[in-house]
Assembly symmetry: C2
Homo-oligomer: 271 residues x 2
């Protein structure tokens, strides 16, 4: 593995943030499968002096169910360590007194249990997968177009993700469809929104330059973290494509074959 400039920052690191899908595991039928070496890599990070958080745009399940799935794969992860868009958007809805129409995956609905949803005043979309039917898209469109100033929250803005049986369209594509139909711009909650990364940094109690983000999504994980002042590392697993290494606007601080290789290098350079 080539060791790039990013290894220089390792000695001053205080924390690591890990993306989940494509770094820890590949999602897919039967819940997906861990990526080789990732279970052990998380264990090694936890045993180190580094703070560790997980930051995901996963919106196909509640945090509780999602973490339970990862624990069944062997990962040592607690719900309190995981940051995902649904609790963040619930908090925004409550702050602003908004009532959402939800176009989301059935399994994430319980996150919105305590939220008033009658007479909707905004739309929240997540990675709804098969719920992205023409009928459901029209329902969301009708709520938006009926408002004087339509408000659309998108839980992430990813283009696509990798499941065990291939690439799948992510919420960002459907966000663009509704943005275009209504001539509006969505408010993104989740990566790469700076407010979302900042909430993780606040929880860790560290400065951005002391933190390394590791993800498979060059724009949303790496670029998003870099815009907040963190270092960003891309793994060559998950949705990684070789063209990412010559992207016109985002250059990672380093590229590594997988999480296991990244952790090996981090721990070696901390001595």
């Amino acid at each position: 593995m080539a060791e790039d400039g990013w290894t220089e920052c390792v000695r001053s690191l205080k924390g690591v943030i890990l993306d989940m899908c494509g770094v820890l595991y590949d999602s897919g039928a039967g819940g997906g499968a861990p990526i080789e070496g990732s279970v052990e890599a998380v264990k090694r990070l936890k045993a180190s002096d580094l703070q560790l958080r997980f930051c995901t745009n996963e919106t196909q399940a509640t945090r509780e169910k999602f973490v339970a799935k990862l624990r069944r794969m062997g990962f040592e992860i607690d719900v309190s360590e995981v940051f995902s868009p649904a609790p963040a958007v619930v908090s925004i809805l409550k702050q602003r007194g908004l009532r959402p129409h939800l176009l989301v995956h059935d399994d994430v609905l319980p996150e919105f249990d305590g939220v008033e949803k009658s007479d909707p005043s905004c739309v929240v979309i997540g990675d709804a997968a098969d719920n992205f039917s023409y009928q459901n898209m029209n329902s969301a469109f009708h709520v938006l177009i009926g408002q004087e100033k339509p408000t659309l929250f998108s839980m992430g803005r990813g283009r696509y993700y990798k499941e065990t049986d291939g690439l799948k369209l992510d919420v960002g594509a459907y966000m663009k469809a509704l943005e275009y139909a209504c001539d509006i711009e969505a408010e993104v909650v989740g990566k790469p929104a700076p407010m979302f990364f900042q909430s993780v940094l606040n929880d860790m109690g560290v400065q951005p330059q002391e933190v390394l983000m590791i993800g498979d999504d060059l724009v949303n994980d790496v670029g998003g973290a870099q815009q907040c002042g963190m270092k960003g590392l891309q793994v060559r697993t998950g949705k990684y494509r070789p063209s990412d290494e010559r992207h016109p606007t985002v250059t990672a601080d380093g590229y590594v074959d997988n999480l296991a290789a990244a952790v090996e290098t981090i721990l070696k350079h901390r001595g």
Copy 2:
């Protein structure tokens, strides 16, 4: 009805192009319903010395079936007078030797009967309506993302249209979703593509400044025609919304309540 500056050009007119859905009829369950006065208005134009063509982005049926539906509503229209995107895209596919993966409405499939579709080298999308499922969108996405230079043809780029039971998302929204997912720009076939309007003008054998386009879509009908040098009139039927009359970039040469009122004014000013 206010008579704007557009009436000044009426004496020099040689032809009129009519949009169909939202001008002649509102689509919907049972095939839709004619807009009041439109059947008679078409009859009056046909009896005048003006050339008349119909220009639609309709892709939910073959031209033959579509015209048959309008004739059942009482409109005197021949297939040869109607310009729609499917025959235009078939012609482009043959010229460029491309094999399409089709994400279209079942009822427009016969237009593509003579086109080789195995081992697809591009994607063609139309107003697929309920065929815009998550699964079908992923299939189209897979064809595109598997190509070095993905080619996407979109039959129109409308945001939404009006059916008798409300507004429906149009192909443009789904074009944007695939454009974003693949980081590409679609080639639009149909209104407002200049090449599409030009093919109608060629068939009429007239100059653009001698032609008036009448439509309910400010950007794709009116703006598209204006960019080709024609005059553009917006009717306040179909997808018309009052905010169209203060659009930031497109201003129609005139706004009229409906096609009947437009034809009344045209014929009156020709004396």
